[in-house]
């Protein structure tokens, strides 16, 4: 009872929150860009965005290991210049979680951006506002529900990611071991008590989180 190590829980949250923030910063402008353009290049980028959803996590993890690994240009540069590794570190876990979770945010936001009536934007333009201003005063407030749904999905996905993170982070206890990896390890070791406990914690958190978001959404809708 006393030796329950809560580090994986802490790390999972840290990784998932950071990954969601990064997804938001990169994903929202990208989704807006995709929603505004039509064409072969955009279609291709759209397809590429959805790839992490379809590919098996291990394949994705393997790609990242090759792309960001210590022998890759990026990984070698980071290690030689800053003495920092990407793989086998929490940073690696964050990148892995971002890659697997960002498609959900992009897809959901893009859909709600596409649904915005172009007349709202035109009206705002004619009332003297520039595009950036319109994005913050019109686009985001109207699309927030879809964006919120995307953030929720993205966060929960990042929190629950196992395969990709495991490949990239090396499951080092107290360093890169996230909650899902801890659960997997406990199960593999036949430590049912630990596994059940971790599963219970994880499930409770996911339910509480989704419930809170739901509540928040209803409150905001009422205005």
């Amino acid at each position: 009872m006393d030796n329950i190590n809560l580090f994986p829980l802490y790390l999972s949250f840290r990784v998932a929150i950071t990954a969601t923030i990064i997804s938001f910063i990169i994903g929202i402008p990208f989704a807006y860009f995709l929603s505004k353009r039509d064409g072969k290049v955009t279609d291709f980028m759209d397809t590429l965005t959805n790839l992490p959803v379809v590919l098996p996590p291990t394949v994705l993890g393997y790609y990242l290991l090759i792309l960001l690994g210590r022998q890759s240009p990026i990984g070698a540069f980071m290690e030689n210049t800053f003495g920092k590794m990407i793989v086998f570190t929490p940073t690696g876990a964050i990148i892995a979680s971002t890659v697997v979770s960002i498609p959900y945010l992009i897809k959901s936001s893009k859909t709600s951006f596409v649904e915005i009536n172009e007349d709202y934007l035109n009206a705002a333009r004619l009332l003297g506002r520039n595009e950036l201003n319109i994005f913050f005063t019109i686009v985001l407030p109207i699309a927030w529900r879809g964006i919120l749904a995307g953030i929720t999905m993205s966060f929960v996905r990042a929190l629950g990611d196992f395969g990709t993170t495991l490949m990239v982070s090396g499951s080092i206890p107290n360093k890169t071991m996230t909650m899902p990896i801890a659960i997997y390890d406990a199960l593999q070791a036949g430590d049912k008590y630990m596994a059940n406990l971790l599963v219970f914690i994880m499930t409770s958190i996911a339910i509480i989180f989704l419930f809170t978001i739901n509540l928040l959404e209803r409150k905001m809708r009422k205005g």
Binding site: Q71, G170, S171, I172, Y184, D185, L187, Q188, A189, G190
Partner: protein, 259 residues
Amino acid sequence: MNKNIFLTILMTIVITFTACNFPTGTISSQKATLTIAAASDLTNAFSEIGEAFEKKHDCIITFSFGSTGMLAEQIANGAPFDVFAAANEIVIYELDTKGHIKSETKQLYALGRIGIVTLKGSHLEVFTLEDLLNPEIVKISIANPYHAPYGLAAKQALITAGLWERLESKMVYGKNISEALTFITTKNAEAGIIALSLKDDSLMNFNLINESMHEPLRQSMAVINSTKEEELARKFVEFVNSKEGKEIMSKYGFVTPEE
């Protein structure tokens, strides 16, 4: 137009996969079939053993390779396997006490060995465990000692050598030995400790670790209680420990038990 082509292709695929019976499906109704759960370190060795056994007994063998822990969990939950070859002994004993296997069939079939691995072409000279202290070795990859028998053996060897505390910060863990090997082959870890059975001379330098450094990796197997092909399953277990079976096992780096 494009949509039609797409639909046609889709239909073809669906029909191929649903309507046609694959050859294995039809033959299996005539020949006896064994489904064998085996630890992933056995992948190479058991594939050959399976072929030899099929020829001898005119039957079909299918394998389900996975980590010992996962397979044991599946068996405890009623997975339809006939034989289970684990990477350690404890799992088999545990399944026995819970009544999932036929007690009298459990037997030792191999002793696993581990060794230090570096990639061919690496300038690092790593022959002994002490050599792992070299600061140029930044990451060392092993299987997760928490649940993987080969990872545990690696950790035990490092503890015996008195190196574990100094090396712990360099360690990264694969979820099984094959993933631990992936970290090495992709050059994300400079060195690692893996099973002798996964040795590939064309790819890596391998230095065996003395077996006295770790507790013996006693790999045991047994017939599953729920088997419908008990006789054939018993024959398979016997075959692994027969002269012919032992020859194949030692070819793949397993130490076979003395009579």
